[in-house]
């Protein structure tokens, strides 16, 4: 018999342990001995990719579709091979430009546009809310099932439950408190949270071990190994089908689309961006991570199928939800401690995602949504106020609570009608909308702000229409006719068969239409619109980042100057007194200048200050703030041409190298020839 108090005791004990690790990590970071600065912790922190979806949901998916759960892990594996090209480029760009979120990245690429930053933030928040609700669902369901040990009762229905009696509501609140304590204790200009990363890495170990423990128990404890399970499965005709992925054409298309979705998600989910890019300590860690991370995914997936089949074979009457097999199988065999371990493992999978995702989202909401608006409102006169760092923290904390409450609301009204994986896939599709703007932005200089903006907005609208609206129908907010007959009885506009397209599952259908429209509009509008000077510069810096790395740090894009006093007081308002003094003294030391002597800051220093500020409030807002104290003349087309000219010089240089190599080769050839002649002669 497991008492509720005992479960709560273990849960809070585990959370306490996480805190201890985070505290330990932060303290080591402060004295300059980072414990996370190695490729192994980096890899484990990337494994925040594996959430309750992986822990509980994969088994549920496998019970229905067999190998259908796997594309979600094959995609990241394939992307890992490209990681050296794509992810490294994103990391390099972000470090140079002090980019701290995906919204900031897109805004910065397309001319530090605050509109674009806000749009990306809204898409990210709305897109991730289902994903957060999935975690809440998993924690509360597993908690309620475990509470009933050794009996197995499926909880629900949730929608009729009063909010104050719903466990998930309290879980959302507790997670909000934990996230605030983890992520927003102080404001840091680089948005790095060393302690948090250490805690996340620990969680990755816990969830992997817990899952492997269940897997081994089911495969070798309940049954006699993998072969035994398969033998039993073969005897049941309905189950036998799930040994393959189905032979109709659509199943292959679904399979490929899921691989594509997960490839995009591993790069562009806000929490993946946070751990892989923002929290990255050293680019070189990527080299090990790109094969260690897929290995982690492989390990956590080996036992999914045995557990799924074991569950189906054991619970023959179908009364137990397949999403809970991981927990209910040990319970039905009276393995109390294993069941508890599973619960903790599932909790670590879910909390890791919630904490990192909400921190990433709160940074975006604060920097790219709230700040630009507040800065525009003249009557608040934000720029003229005193120390704003506590105000920034307040916004972030508020947005963490808000995001989690939205996540709860989604779970309460909609979540219970869907399985864990199908909720998660809705979020993946939303996140994939960033792909054209980002990948197009770092490999193609021609992408413009208008192109990115219109592609994103239209893609997002198609996403909402084909996936979110139908789920509102499910929850009873919209009439059933909307899905079956289309809005206003227009058959062509049925959200699951848009323009009559049939034969795909809902996700594939939504991905097809949204990506088609997003990509077409992004490229089309980009080709037919003109980029401004700053867009040109940013495009060159992003696409050719490896050429400019050294230069950007020194070069200035502000032709104007500012008084050091103005600049310092501006920085102090957003970063706080201590941080500003530290950052400026570092700069003064590296440039060999005395800050007290000079009364005006040169262009170099202005751009240094802008980058510092960008870390705290986002690049678009930082630009607005800096321009308020700098008498800046905007960068003209001539300057842009100058920068581009540099590229030409570099290219000419490499041509020279190639010629030299050719000469060397020729010389070598001649030597060989002589050698041969000599041999023949002798």
């Amino acid at each position: 018999m497991l008492k509720t108090e005992a479960i709560l005791f273990f849960s809070f004990g585990y959370m306490g342990l996480l805190f201890a690790i985070a505290y330990f990590g932060d303290r080591h970071a402060k004295i300059g001995r980072s414990i996370i600065s190695n490729p192994y912790i980096y890899t484990l922190s990337m494994a925040v990719y594996c959430t309750a979806w992986t822990f509980y949901g994969s088994v549920g998916r496998a019970a229905v579709t067999g190998l259908g759960f796997l594309p979600i892990y094959i995609g990241p594996t394939l992307m890992a091979a490209l990681g050296w090209l794509v992810l490294r480029k994103i990391i390099r760009i972000s470090k140079i430009h002090h980019i701290t979120s995906i919204a900031d990245f897109i805004a910065s690429r397309y001319g530090k546009s605050s509109t674009l930053g806000s749009v990306v933030t809204i898409i990210a928040v709305l897109g991730i809310i289902p994903y957060i609700s999935l975690q809440l669902k998993a924690i509360s369901t597993s908690f309620m099932i475990l509470k009933g040990y050794p009996l197995i009762n499926m909880p629900g229905p949730f929608a009729e439950m009063p909010v104050l009696k719903d466990t998930a509501f309290y879980i959302a609140l507790i997670l909000a408190v934990f996230t605030i304590l983890f992520g927003t204790r102080h404001l840091d200009a680089t948005e790095r949270h060393e302690g948090l990363v250490a805690a996340i890495a620990f969680e990755s170990i816990v969830k992997l071990l817990a899952f492997l423990a269940v897997g081994i128990f089911v495969t070798y404890g309940i049954y006699n190994g993998f072969g035994d399970i398969i033998e039993r499965v073969k005897a049941i005709p309905e189950l036998k089908q799930s040994l393959t992925i189905g032979s109709w054409a659509g199943s292959y298309i679904n399979w490929s689309i899921y691989i594509f979705l997960s490839m995009m998600s591993i790069l562009f989910l806000p929490r993946q961006f946070q751990v892989a890019v923002v929290e990255n300590v050293n680019e070189d860690h990527l080299k090990k991570a790109i094969w260690l991370f897929p290995l982690y995914l492989l390990a956590i997936n080996i036992f999914v199928l045995p557990i799924a089949f074991g569950g189906v074979l054991h619970f023959t009457n179908g009364s137990v939800d397949a999403d809970t097999f991981v927990l209910t199988l040990p319970m039905s065999h009276h393995q109390q401690s294993l069941a508890l371990l599973v619960f903790i493992g599932g909790m670590s999978a879910a909390t890791g995602m919630v904490i990192v995702a909400t921190i990433a989202l709160s940074t975006m909401i604060c920097n790219d949504l709230v700040m630009p608006v507040l800065l525009r409102l003249q009557f608040i006169n934000l720029a003229g106020r005193g120390d704003l760092s506590s105000f920034l923290l307040f916004i972030r904390r508020g947005s963490i609570i808000l995001v989690l409450l939205f996540g709860y609301a989604y779970f309460h009204f909609i979540g219970e009608y869907y399985t864990l994986v199908s909720i998660g896939l809705i979020s993946f599709t939303a996140v994939a909308q960033f792909a054209p703007a980002i990948l197009g932005g770092i490999f193609w200089k021609g992408g413009t702000r208008s192109g990115a903006l219109s592609g994103l907005v239209l893609g997002f609208m198609v996403w909402a229409y084909t996936l979110v609206f139908p789920s509102l129908v499910q929850a009873g907010f919209l009439p059933k006719k909307f899905v079956t007959e289309g809005p206003f009885s227009l058959e062509l506009l049925r959200p699951f068969q848009l323009f009559g397209l049939q034969g795909f599952d809902h996700i594939t259908h939504a991905v097809f239409w949204s990506m088609l429209i997003n990509i077409t509009v992004f490229i089309g509008v980009s080709l037919f619109s003109r980029a401004s000077a700053i867009e040109h510069t940013q495009a060159a810096f992003f696409v050719d980042v490896f050429k400019y790395s050294e230069r950007y740090e020194k070069s200035s894009f502000w032709r104007g100057t500012a008084s050091i006093t103005d600049l310092t007081s501006l920085l102090k308002r957003f970063l706080g007194e201590q941080n500003t003094d530290k950052a400026l003294s570092v700069y003064a030391a590296s440039q060999n200048i005395n800050l007290k002597e000079g009364l005006t800051a040169d262009a170099d220093m202005v751009s240094y200050a802008e980058k510092l500020l960008a870390g705290a409030i986002g690049s678009a807002s930082a630009r607005v703030m800096i321009s308020s104290v700098v008498k800046e003349e905007p960068l003209g087309i001539d300057e842009v041409m100058d920068i581009l000219d540099e590229t030409r010089v570099v290219i000419a240089y490499s041509h020279e190298l190639e010629r030299a190599t050719a000469e060397l080769k020729a010389a070598n050839q001649r030597l060989k020839e002589l050698d041969r002649l000599k041999d023949e002669f002798i």
Binding site: L82, W291, L657, A660
Partner: protein
């Protein structure tokens, strides 16, 4: 002397590029092996050594793929610009 130096630079530059190209090649090969139509060759209801064929195929390719990433990235030290290292 200058030529040797230039040649050295060229060599290190190309090594890095070769690595990138190998990884892209591996990625493309992976895309091929994990998708239709190659996948359909193994999408059969056959059991090999007690393991379903498709399951065996996907997991083996997966593992081999990882080994290849490891082999390609194993050597060579990248040069990260000095100023980036301290962050």
């Amino acid at each position: 002397m200058t030529l040797t130096f230039l040649y050295y630079i060229k060599e290190t530059m190309t090594k890095d590029k070769v690595k990138g190209k190998r990884l892209v090649g591996l990625f493309l090969l992976g895309c091929l092996l994990f998708n239709f139509p190659i996948l359909s060759l193994f999408n059969l209801n056959v059991i090999v050594f007690g393991i379903p064929l498709l399951y065996l195929y996907v997991f083996s390719i997966w593992f081999i793929f990882i080994v290849f990433i490891y082999l390609i990235t194993r050597f060579s030290k990248e040069t990260v610009p000095q100023f980036l290292e301290k962050r």
